[in-house]
């Protein structure tokens, strides 16, 4: 099976779903060619895990404690324009699909207290054209009103093209909203979820929401055609989110990101290396980040993935680990699984 054939199938399978697709095994040839045979040595990163039993916990205090572990990042916060990017996909009363508004509100208060000049909450939902409906029904509108913080619909913002330096998608450039391009610091705030195409959806995948619907549509199907993994890497290398805070107080297992079951996972996970944060979030779900291709590729671009390269602050993974159910085709992701497949 040659690479060209793999790629074609891969793109088609992902594209139709509108939410992406997966192929197990194969296709490494393409990535090895792109990355070169020799990977740079892996750096080190610090990831903080904090327990939070519910959304009624003192989230401001928790996030402040977590951020205090990153003095260099906090130096950058002072006087900066910060865009908080939660995960807002669709709203179902019974399902925990979106980043909880209480976490977003707490983050606003904390970043403000650390001297941020301006804070904007921004998202470009991938399926639902009616952002107003989603923002209101999810409770985010009320939370932002209380915090006197504006919301920007990234699907309908002004847009500018950005050249893709790594260009894994072969798109050469992607358009992004000026709100995102004008941010001094982007903070990705995903939900802790499994994903029925990508395996897991955390801070790196959350950046799909920065791609403007006005150009790419609802869903942002071109990215699926070009490959979810490749798109995730290109977007994150273009935008370089500075920090990630995962809302894992309630997570979603099984048929995520929309139709899975709620898990009371009780954690906030944060850090200034989004790949390391996602790797830790994946381990907290009882899944193996080393089996996820886009995380592997991000390692070649400064992302930290290896467990021994991640300094754990706060709780240890083992004390908060909660094994999430996954769809059968993702059994290779389970920690301890004998399957040696790479999910891409």
């Amino acid at each position: 099976m040659n690479d060209r054939f793999n790629r074609r199938q891969f793109l088609k399978k992902m594209a139709i779903a509108g939410v992406g697709g997966t192929v197990i095994g194969g296709g490494l040839f393409y990535w090895r060619n792109r990355l070169g045979k020799v990977l740079p040595p892996e750096a080190h990163a610090r990831v903080t895990i904090l327990k939070a039993a519910s959304y009624r916990a003192n989230l401001v205090d928790l996030i402040r404690r977590g951020l205090s572990n990153y003095p260099a990042f906090l130096e950058r916060v002072r006087g900066s324009r910060i865009v908080l990017k939660p995960n807002l996909v669709e709203y179902y009363e019974a399902r925990r699909v979106n980043t909880h508004p209480a976490v977003v509100a707490a983050a606003i208060a904390v970043f403000r207290s650390f001297g941020a000049r301006e804070i904007v909450v921004a998202e470009g939902p991938g399926h639902q054209r009616d952002t107003e409906l989603l923002v209101e029904e999810s409770g985010l509108w009320e939370a932002l009103k209380s915090e006197q913080t504006p919301f920007v619909d990234l699907n309908h913002d002004s847009i500018r093209p950005v050249r893709l330096s790594a260009n894994y998608t072969q798109l050469n450039r992607l358009f992004f909203p000026v709100t995102i391009l004008g941010a001094d610091l982007i903070v990705s705030m995903p939900k802790l979820k499994t994903h029925h195409w990508a395996g897991v959806t955390l801070s790196l995948k959350n950046m799909f929401g920065t791609v403007p619907g006005v150009k790419y549509g609802w869903p942002k199907n071109l990215l699926h055609w070009r490959g979810i993994d490749r798109s995730i890497v290109d977007i994150n290398l273009a935008l370089r989110p500075a920090f990630a805070i995962i809302d894992g107080i309630e997570g979603m297992e099984g048929d995520g990101p929309l139709r899975g079951e709620t898990v009371q996972s009780g954690v906030l996970i944060m850090g200034d290396n989004p790949t390391a944060v996602d790797a830790t979030g994946t381990r907290v779900m009882g899944l193996n980040p080393e089996r996820i291709l886009y995380l592997q590729v991000m390692r070649a671009h400064g992302g930290v993935l290896g467990e021994t390269h991640i300094e754990q602050a706060g709780e240890r993974v083992a004390t908060v680990r909660h094994d999430f159910q996954v769809l059968p085709n993702f059994s290779c992701l389970k920690l301890g699984s004998p399957e040696r497949k790479l999910l891409q």
Partner: protein
């Protein structure tokens, strides 16, 4: 003209960019969708049509965004944009620049979504083509609805592309009767309909007798769900849809009016404000931009 419409009209006139086109929000770059709806909204305001200079400037901007293929392109871009369908609707409704309208319509007939026949994860007939959001991708509900409405308005109701796309829309209807972005089942799990997509799909199929059952299920979905899920866009599109099907809209009109802000807008969103004006005008007896001529009803597709 009532004070709500007058206030919205003033808002729209006040948020145009210097080039005469509209952005999605004040001060942003000009964009085709709000410009098309803005033009239509101003033209719809009874007794006070758009000032000629405003109309000419906006039309001139739209014309300047049409590439050699006949498709609209965004500023800084060179790829066909889905709003080309809205351009056709706008020029048809305004009765102007008919050469440009025909050129854009011809482009729509050449433009198509990719085939999806080998996909097993989702349950749909991938051999049916509609229209994509962007070239080289699959057909999705909303751009297909706009293209169908545009082509039907220019007399292409019987074109094979139109008939195939009608079948595609019927195939994409969700189990709950609504339509969403375009997937009804993934991995065997039924997905929910969205109100705005459902209103557009029913409008796009309004003249298709063979789609009556799907339309009725869609209208029932809207009637059931609109009570609990309201926004400016959803209300405006549902009013336009119910108006086209002669269903009562008084409650929806009241709900939409209650969301208008003191500056005349609906959440400062320009395309939503323009759509709200168009919905309120239709409900008050004005024309409905998405309503097709009654004589065009099709027996089968």
């Amino acid at each position: 003209m009532n004070h709500r419409i007058a206030s919205a009209r003033n808002f729209l006139l006040g948020v145009r960019n210097p080039c005469g086109a509209w952005p999605y929000r004040r001060g942003q770059q000009s964009s085709p969708e709000p410009t098309c709806y803005g033009l239509l909204a101003l033209a719809s305001t009874e007794g006070q049509p758009a000032p000629e200079t405003a109309r000419d400037a906006a039309l001139g901007w739209l014309a300047s965004r049409v590439g050699p293929q006949g498709a609209l392109v965004l500023e800084g871009d060179d790829e066909p944009h889905w709003s080309t369908s809205l351009l056709v609707i706008t020029l048809t409704r305004l009765g102007c620049q008919l050469e440009l309208q025909q050129k854009a319509a011809r482009f729509l007939l050449r433009w198509s979504g990719e085939e999806t026949s080998k996909i097993t994860e989702v349950t749909l007939d991938g051999t049916l083509h509609g229209w994509p959001w962007i070239s080289g991708t699959f057909s999705w509900v909303e751009p297909t609805c706009y293209a169908l409405l545009a082509l039907k308005l220019v007399g292409q109701s019987q074109h094979p592309r139109v008939i195939e796309a009608e079948r595609m829309l019927v195939d994409r209807a969700c189990q709950d009767g609504g339509w969403n972005y375009g997937n009804r089942v993934i991995y065997g799990a039924s997905l929910h309909g969205f109100l705005s997509s459902t209103a557009l799909a029913a409008l796009a199929l309004q003249d298709v007798t063979a789609a009556r059952e799907a339309i009725n299920r869609g209208l029932a979905f809207l009637e059931r769900e609109i009570k609990n899920h309201q926004s400016s866009l959803t209300l405006a599109l549902t009013i336009l849809c119910f108006h086209a099907f002669a269903r009562p809209v008084a409650d929806l009109v009241a709900a939409l009016e209650s969301r208008q802000e003191s500056d005349g807008s609906w959440r400062q969103q320009i395309h939503q404000t323009a759509l709200a004006v168009l919905a309120l005008q239709a409900a008050a007896g004005g024309s409905n931009i998405f309503m097709l001529p009654r004589s065009g009803a099709k027996a089968a597709s």
